[in-house]
């Protein structure tokens, strides 16, 4: 059976100019992600992990190379098409939750549906359903400031799922959470990915996220250091902590 690749990254490089110094953050990355896969991108800070992540998500443009989502080169898209992609195809989850502070949980969840042209009643019904699924059914009228970090991240997950996207991009989703809350969020993401066959890509350095990942991509100095499937991971998991603790050259 042929595997359908929802994301293909081909020879992507990215450089910034820091003052007058050009800094190459990504030095040629090739990566394919299968539909329904749970992929984690691991790497120390400054490795280019976040940059790769943003480029895959259409939040940033590569300096050279191509990114295909559903075989569409997203670097060729104009502003309208990109907006549509962000609205329908991709759901974003951030380390800092990034809910709109003046809106209630429900309003936050329904916003992408309203942008997609769904009528209000339908959006509210679907939003309530999604909040139920992430375990916040009772708190839909609360503002983000009235919710705990874990609860805010649950709202963010519900919002990411609003338009039934094909891909969910989670940037350090457990980074601002304590470890037990983080585990709950990871479990929720895993459950959602299985139930809805959504492709999940998360940038992380939380080792708890590895055990639920189908594959782990290790980024080092702007290149893919190695890609490990889960089976290989279980064998080497004991040494990961050591490797992570060891200083990078």
């Amino acid at each position: 059976m042929e595997i359908h690749h929802i994301i293909r990254v081909v020879g992507v490089t990215k450089s910034f100019t820091l003052g007058k110094l050009p800094v190459q953050v990504l030095r040629g990355v090739d990566l394919s992600v299968a539909t329904g896969e749970y992929l984690s991108i691991m790497g120390p800070s400054g490795s280019g992990k976040s940059t790769l992540f943003n480029i895959v998500g259409g939040l940033d443009k590569p300096t050279s190379g191509r990114v295909f989502i559903d075989e569409v080169d997203i670097s060729q898209l104009d502003a309208y098409e990109l907006a549509w992609l962000r609205n329908r195809k991709i759901g974003y989850i951030f380390q800092t939750f990034n809910l709109i502070p003046v809106m209630t949980a429900l309003e936050n969840v329904t916003l992408p549906m309203i942008f997609a042209g769904m009528n209000s009643d339908h959006a509210v019904a679907k939003g309530r359903g999604l909040l139920d699924q992430v375990g916040l059914g009772e708190r839909f009228q609360h503002k983000p400031s009235e919710l705990s970090g874990g609860q805010q991240q649950r709202v963010a997950i519900a919002r990411a799922l609003a338009n039934d996207p094909a891909i969910i991009l989670a940037d350090e989703p457990t980074g601002n959470l304590d470890s037990s809350t983080g585990e709950e969020i990871i479990a929720l993401l895993q459950k959602m990915s299985r139930e809805r066959a959504v492709t999940i890509i998360s940038a992380t350095h939380d080792f708890k996220m590895l055990s639920v990942s189908d594959r782990v991509v290790w980024i080092l100095d702007g290149r893919i250091d190695k890609i490990e499937a889960r089976e290989e991971l279980n064998i080497s998991l004991g040494t990961i902590q050591e490797r992570h603790a060891a200083p990078h050259p």
Binding site: N54, L59, D60, K61, D78, A79, Y80, E81, A83, W84, L85, R86, N87, R88, Y92, F94, N98, L99, I100, P101, V102, M103, L111, P112, I114, F115, A116, G117, S120, R159, N163
Partner: protein, 230 residues
Amino acid sequence: MPMPGTAKRHKQLEISRQIVLPWKKSAEMAYNSLRIRFFRSLITTFSLVLAIAFLSYTLTNTAIAGELYSLYGNLALPLLTLDGYVFDKAEAVIKAGPKDIWLIVLSLLVCTVGIVNAQLMSVTERFREIGIMKCLGALDRIIVRLFLIEALILGIMGAGCGGMLGMLAAWVGSIVHFDTLDCSKIHLLPLFTQVLLAWGIGIGLSVLGVLYPAILAAKLQPVIVMKEEY
């Protein structure tokens, strides 16, 4: 393969129809955003009220002087020239003296700087929110539209209050100042014309102050907007 122009435009139309925010919903969101940020909005509005009150005060004062001359003729003339108004013999009208022109220019400057600055600040505080909306698929113009509606509401209310306040102050001031003349006979229409002018300027500046930062923020890549700490 490059896409033919018409097909491209057609596709854009198709997509912009898919990404929508109806006017009613936009107005609702703008209103809610103002209501929830009530105190922050109040501060922005207050700078609008004060600036426009100043402008409206100087404008209506000149109008009152003109009205007093047309009511009392030469009886009012010494009082008015004492106050710095200039009598134009050729056209037989009272004109604003250099002091008043200076005041009007100054109040216009205060308006522009004050209002544009207040609106700029209030948008800059919300760059992150703009980034979030872009991540959720908002088109640039949806974001700009939301901010414009907010600026319009603030402008209409703030500049309206300011304009009336300024006129009231000028009128009461004149009654006290020109106590030998009966100010109650003054026609209010020319005064309201000045208030209307000040109101319009206030709304215009309020929208202008929001337009620039909102367009700037809406055009940025969302990741840049969201990374910055504002």
